[in-house]
Amino acid sequence: MAGLDWDAVEMARRVQSGEVSALELVDASLERIAAVDSNIGAFLYVDDVGARQSARRLDSELTRDQKKSLPLAGVPVAIKDNLVTRQMPTTAASKMLQGFMSPYDATVVERLLAAGAIPVGKVNLDEFAMGSSTEHSAYQVTRNPWDISRVPGGSSGGSAAAVAAGMVPLALGSDTGGSIRTPASYCGVFGMKPTYGRVSRYGLIAFASSLDQVGPFSRTVRDAALLLHVISGRDPHDATSVDVSSTAPTVVVADPTQMRIGLPEEYFGDGIDPNVRTQVDAALETLKGLGATLVPISLPHTRYAIATYYLIANAEASSNLSRYDGVRYGFRETAPDLIQMYSRTRSQGFGDEVQRRILLGTHALSAGYYDAYYLKAQKVRTLIRRDFDQAFESVDLIVTPTVPDLPFKFGERALDPLQMYLTDIFTVTTNLAGLPGLSQPIGLADGLPVGLQWIAPALEEERILGMASALEAVLPVPSWPMQGGLSR
């Protein structure tokens, strides 16, 4: 399995120089998927024929100069199955979209292809990205490569697991309240939610439009930076995408001695698993050793974030998921009249968790409750944003644990939605404030990965990547699980 131990930057360099072919990389990726994914369940769809075809085309039709212009030349990637693709079905892990073929590619997919990346398949998620465990997929569960009795986190559990188990060096995920960072933390990989608007949402199946962002999963910081660079930037198809001057594809290493790093007291209180706490404290010591200044700060409205998030996210979701009505695409249940067709289709097409959230969101927007719920949440959202604005007046970055605990066992939280919602307690705030956040693997506790979350002011991803890179250089990153004889 030549090459799978390289990161994407290294793979692309070797394809560009002709040391390895795209087909060899794709073959290695497909073989690894065949070898390990039956135990993990990351992929909902593997496009071996299409991927090999694309690889051969890249190998045979492009000149060396052309390959050099492709930053991801020949790199196999996995795509979360809530990003629409023309060549592969897109289901959002919902029965509602079984067999759905999109007539267009998501902008991020177009940009991946234009950069020379080769999608090998679509990966699992909680249905419509609603969940923190990837247990809520209509098709299969995805297992944590570090311990297959445990969840990989969610909703981008397939993306995180595929990267963690070395099936691909890169994957795209989406993050509405932690859906990239939580599984990145649980699976021991890098996962970044960019600033809202930095990456186009066109072709991302909407969960909560004002919170959703697409972002990268990788095993190195420079890969995260490269993939972010490829997918970033204004898209004429997304009016909320912003014009960012192009980020450098390689990381500018930050000078830790110039960095003031805020530690919000609300994120370091009780309720954190002591194992997680130990690892995080060790990482903080390392940062200090690098010369960074650690500053205690306060984000006083943190305790309201989950409630705020669930109102806003579900209200928007209830609206975004209305289009699945059995008329133009997807699942339809037969019925004698229109109204019954609607309700039968939607009740049978959506899973329980999705339906719960639609009901909650619909209630929050309904006559008589709008002000008490939705409007109230929008106002608290303002307060949460202000917390960050004030904090960033005195610090350059904020670090927190990504998740308060270690990956949990299947079924452990499925019974109580509220407990599941609380998994996202440290991640939802950045979505509400629109800020960038990265989960960085910092070690293992009881053989399970622990992640550290970096948060920066809007559009300051480089600052995060620079510091993450500095930390990566000195912290032993856990080697991958299920290596099958591979060495790093």
Partner: protein, 99 residues
């Protein structure tokens, strides 16, 4: 309970979901617990706080009035559960409905 069974039915109707009578009690209970938790927000006085509905500061993002290629009718309807003469078929509409 913050949400009665009747309210669950009302909301389900708005959302075009059907909740089985046997599930109603449990659904009302689950949603009520979430709403009880959400009640936390009432600790905050937000009288003078303006709402945030978007975090992007930009405004007036528009495009020129230029025609772009449409999909072919075939591609537009390829995912349709039931299609006749390039149109999507829906069952009988009982009341006036619509806007």
């Amino acid at each position: 309970m913050l949400l009665s069974k009747e309210e669950v039915l009302h909301v389900a109707n708005l959302a075009r979901l059907s909740v089985e009578p046997s599930e109603l009690e449990e659904m009302a209970g689950t949603l009520s617990r979430v709403l009880e938790y959400i009640d936390l927000l009432n600790e905050l006085d937000t009288e003078s706080v303006s709402p945030t509905s978007q975090v992007v500061e930009q405004h007036t993002v528009w495009r020129s009035d230029v025609i772009q290629d449409s999909l072919s009718a075939e591609l537009a309807t390829q995912n349709g559960p039931q299609v006749v003469s390039a149109m999507f078929v829906v069952p009988k509409i009982l009341d006036g409905g619509g806007q």
